[in-house]
Subunit: 131 residues, 3 copies
């Protein structure tokens, strides 16, 4: 069963820690041993797993991505003005997969799951399947 | 069961929309609820999910990748001359996973699956498993 | 069942070919048809699939990553001094998935699986599940 989670982003580029929401879906699924798959059904957002303790870690990721993939570039051909967001989405990827053991997400000590908004702020959807 | 799909690329760097081919494998599998895994068994090609409506989206992704990872660089040590293709393959990744619901790929409205050729043109293989 | 594999890295940035270790887990699992999922439970390391024959391929990947994501940057806000490692970890990703057929990993001819250390040298863990 695919469960849908709503994510609200408040900045143009915004990594939202969705670990608690994903943990809740795992718990409700009743699955004890398996996989949790997280999927972003958007083309200007992605998902990544990284440190959740210090918020500067994701702000540093965003800083380097913004520098490597400029928001404005005379060579962009896509007319909607959000080419940077599409490029960053492909660099982060649209899905993440974490093991489930004893009914819990098997994340490393410092790991958190982040919804990566690259063209916000917006209301977004996240799909989660535990199997 | 792993199904093999042939992909023909016609440029050195070429993102080929393979959504229809993957949908066909899902339909033939008979699986109603589950996952569709797409795997690229090459080291100079990858796979990504992004917008399929405007072809300029993928050409902008390619433009920024070509700028960040130059085709020719005096510091490359790999002698075959295709280091850029290997680097880009790792940045995009070798697999993608999409949920299957009601026998259909659960892609977002604007999402399409792209085979990412970085060292073409060539005849390539794509592996797809629905479970 | 999730199997843990130890990985020892000997350089600050070090791609360790872990294909043989993963193959061993696949063999011991007894699974004949399915998937092998590899997961890195760290936030300054990742995993990628690329060419294993010529070690210059991964050294070229590392060279371009080091250039794009500098080790030292006045704009980094994370105080531990390893922002570059976190950024590279997200670019490579924390998991990889390969099909299993006839009890064997279905890797392409030139493909190998690499543990990507970005903040070493260290003792690391790798989680592998075959299903």
């Amino acid at each position: 069963m695919v469960k849908e989670v709503s994510v609200s982003t408040s900045k143009q580029v915004h990594f939202v820690n969705i670990t608690d929401e994903v943990k809740k879906v795992v718990k409700e699924s009743g699955v004890k041993e398996g996989h949790c798959h997280v999927y972003v059904p958007h083309t200007t957002a992605g998902v990544t797993i990284n440190e959740g303790a210090d918020p500067h870690v994701v702000s540093d990721i965003i800083m380097v991505m913004n520098r490597t993939v400029p928001f404005v570039d005379n060579d962009y051909l896509h007319r909607e003005g959000n080419s940077a967001a599409h490029i960053k989405a492909s660099l982060m990827g649209s899905s993440a997969s974490v093991f489930v053991q004893d009914g819990k997400l098997l994340l490393g000590t410092w790991q958190a799951i982040f919804f990566c908004e690259f063209d916000g702020p917006r209301s977004r959807r996240l799909l989660v399947q535990v199997s």
